[in-house]
Symmetry: C2
Subunit: 218 residues, 2 copies
């Protein structure tokens, strides 16, 4: 079984620094909730985000949703062959029970994730806890931990799938952010950093191809 980690994902509630900004207040008012309980979203909070540290890597819940759907709609996932974790840039982990199907509608996904990040349930189909990436890997204890990154050594996805299928508890990290790279702390915990294409690919494209190769291999 593959442990698939959407790592350092651009998924978080609106942070304190900008929760009073007009864009955050208006969106929250329109939806009848507190701005600190809505998701940070570049398509809504772009201007306010300019003052956030590391802003370019944050506020893309749409990418996380897309990536999740590209995984959870596959035969391998539906058969229980993939366990998904979403690790966010602010070190929260959403741990999905195997075979859990997230909502296909973005609005429903957004509402669900907001509720999860506010309520932080410790059990259920999706549980939530605080954890760094190294701590998450210490918990999973993979015998092979591979990160996919344009900073890695070049390999084909086929070759990677062969290697993963030989491991007993492999973990693959896909960056859940629009731009940038894994932090050095994350890279330090990996056995391999692999580049599967000459250009940078969107996380959902990478996830879809990885799972397809694993199905072919299996």
């Amino acid at each position: 079984m593959l442990n698939l980690i959407i790592a350092e994902a651009a998924l978080e509630l609106v942070p304190h620094e900008i929760s009073g900004h007009a864009s955050a207040r208006n969106e929250a008012k329109r939806r009848g909730i507190k701005s600190s309980e809505t998701l940070l979203d570049r398509s809504i909070h772009h201007h306010a985000m300019l003052k956030l540290l590391d802003g370019a890597k944050r506020g893309r819940p749409d990418l996380v949703h897309l990536t999740l759907l590209s995984i959870t709609s596959t035969p391998l996932y539906l058969e229980g062959g993939v366990k998904v974790y979403i690790h966010t840039g602010d070190n929260t982990v959403l741990d999905l029970e195997k075979r859990t199907r997230p909502p296909k509608s973005y609005a429903r996904f957004r509402d669900l994730v907001q509720k999860l990040l506010v309520e932080r349930p410790e059990s259920g189909l999706i549980s939530v806890h605080e954890s760094t990436l190294p701590a998450l890997l210490d918990r999973i204890r993979p015998d092979l931990a591979v990160g996919l990154s344009t900073q890695g050594k070049t390999s084909s996805l086929e070759a990677l799938a062969v290697e993963l299928s030989k491991a007993s508890n492999p973990a693959v990290l896909i960056g859940g952010f629009p731009k940038g790279h894994f932090t050095p702390e994350t890279v330090a915990k990996l056995d391999e950093l692999v580049r599967i294409h000459r250009e940078s690919l969107d996380a959902h494209v990478v996830a879809a191809r990885l799972i397809y190769e694993l199905e072919r291999e299996g």
Copy 2:
């Protein structure tokens, strides 16, 4: 170059029969537009849709968005190797100029498509015209037209990619609806109906895998 048709897609404006329904009126009011100028969406109009003919095949703009993104984020598409058409269940065709990138945010995609379906521009990055599927194929004039369907004969995607790469102007149809099958009129225009998996797969999964196989083949 591949002509990729998202066929009989569950994408349309709210039809006259239900535009006065509370769910349609409330959604339109909330967004400050006419209900007849919003997209039919099962996650909003579920109850009203129960009285629509062929309702199970309609009202899933989210699936069309997902499928489009799974195509337009790929290297093959970005290099101009794929031309995309969205043919809707009510016989409207959205014709995307090669390399056109649709919005990744669902809300922005929805707003764009609503505007396109209302204004029906005859030129631009995305042009809109009325056309049946057979008429669209007559215009494209493919030397090989393949539909992907669980009603087709079993083949691997690899074998299909080999066949497509030998054609000079191939067209592939992927169903843009959540359930059901192509109409007999559509099937009658195809050279082949191919089944690539034992289970029914979501359109976005099929599109992602098809393009990946074509890249490998190319």
